[in-house]
Subunit: 284 residues, 2 copies
């Protein structure tokens, strides 16, 4: 007797599907904000899917979470006070808690259910949310940051795509609030989509151009993220003063002896070297 | 009345499928060596599929073909005599013919039918095969190169995966013949798979370690190839004498004023900065 085959298919574009074979559909819930699913898959281990988009997989989450944190932390090792918006799976906080120099992490996730489901099913990312330096706020990040001034050394916007609850995290008003909430040497790291498929590329350009208007330093960097559409994804590094290459001291970061699987100080420099078509998209 | 939906699904691994929506199945043939299909797709334009593996798409072939050629050409602008093995779609030769300094390109493709089909259906890659400097040989590259000595400034192995007709192009015997056929400053560029899925990673390691035993200089570089499994792919740069970073002169290449969409001289440097897990795979 043949076993039933269960596949999760993601419509990466109207004309492109990506499918992973599923061992078990572990969790499914509709929160006040979005649909949350957790799968156990053959190739990628456990997978968090929100509104039918793959957010985190056990196999490659290390790439995303190392790249969203260590580029800023190595540019300014004096970072002490951090705001993380989104990031409900906990992976971003897990990486940050590895720095003993960090004294406070405010994590603002609009959807408590993502955090609770991650704590139950994704212990590999959600295992540091009870670190005493971490304060969890289940609130709208847009409201949380409004009016705050000169407070955070680093703000990480670890959001879903700019549709649904993540939409307001891609506006000029929100970026202006981030600018104001940052200290003089403050850095903003922003999930800013992908250059390859037209929908993602449009959002990447919009997000980058808004940040570039506000911040003296604004640079995009790339990483290989196999389970996201096209596998070619970007973060933006924006700062009032610090430049991710000019103010970067590889020796200092390497002396911390942090073990990483994707990030390293050579890659730190290399990831800002973008393909010509991506540069053109960003500068147009 | 609903239109029929036609999708091409590639089994990237046993547990991962990648599917593209097809406008028209333009061509299908079984040659003496392999199955050749050409599709017209909504997202990627025309697509060459060999033995059910995507080889070339109109949308992103520029990435592959720029990266397989310009890294070597910019490391040694004195390259004059070139051997290309495989590359039946013509894209590698197209990029090479842009250099006026090149005097001869021997292209050895085992399967004439790939070339003829590409000339008919993929003019965007196959449009320079009639350049007077190009000599087409429809032979086995392994036999062609055997016994040749001190002849080529550059050998590019633009092969399919190491299964089927491409298999012999990943052996130590073949690499030794390449070594012998190269001039003192000769460079070998080799398609060497991907670090992400286990099957590809195994082949990447095998190929790299064989080259590393033979050549004083052996470095891997990465590129984003969205329509290949995982999107994270690698070439090997092997040479008796020239180093892709130490012997690289960005000013000289930029003075050529070649327009590229992916490759640029910053990226040239950046693409050799590999993620930690990839370095570990290569050095183990």
């Amino acid at each position: 007797m043949a076993n039933m085959e269960l596949w999760y298919t993601e419509n990466q574009t109207d004309n492109v599907n990506f499918s992973m074979k599923v061992k078990e559909h572990l969790y499914s819930a509709q929160s006040d904000f979005q649909k949350i699913d957790i799968l156990n898959t053959y190739e990628f281990g456990r997978v968090l899917v929100i509104d039918n988009w793959t957010m985190v997989t056990e196999k490659d989450e290390f790439i995303y979470h190392e790249m969203i944190t260590h580029v800023a932390m190595s540019t300014n090792p004096d970072i002490k006070n951090i705001l993380v918006i989104g990031a409900g799976d906990g992976g971003t906080v897990r990486e940050l808690t590895r720095y003993n120099t960090i004294t406070n992490i405010d994590m603002v996730e609009i959807d408590e259910l993502v955090v609770r489901a991650s704590q139950e099913f994704l212990p590999f990312t959600a295992n540091k949310l009870e670190d005493p330096r971490v304060n969890l706020y289940f609130e709208d990040g847009i409201k949380f940051i409004s009016g705050k001034e000169n407070l955070y050394d680093l703000i990480i916007v670890d959001s879903t795509d700019p549709i649904g609850p993540g939409e307001g995290l891609f506006t000029k008003e929100f970026y202006t609030d981030c600018f104001n909430a940052l200290t003089d040497k403050g850095i903003l790291i922003n999930q800013c989509e992908s250059p390859y498929y037209p929908n993602n590329a449009t959002e990447m350009r919009r997000s980058f151009s808004k940040l570039e208007e506000l911040f003296d330093v604004c640079e995009a960097y790339q990483y290989h993220m196999p389970t996201y559409p096209s596998g070619h994804w970007m973060f933006c590094f924006a700062s009032k003063n610090l430049h991710p290459l000019k103010d970067f001291d590889a020796t200092r970061w390497n002396a911390l002896n942090l073990t990483t699987k994707y990030y390293n100080t050579d890659l730190h420099i290399g990831c800002f070297s973008l393909p010509t078509y991506v540069k053109q998209l960003l500068r147009d």
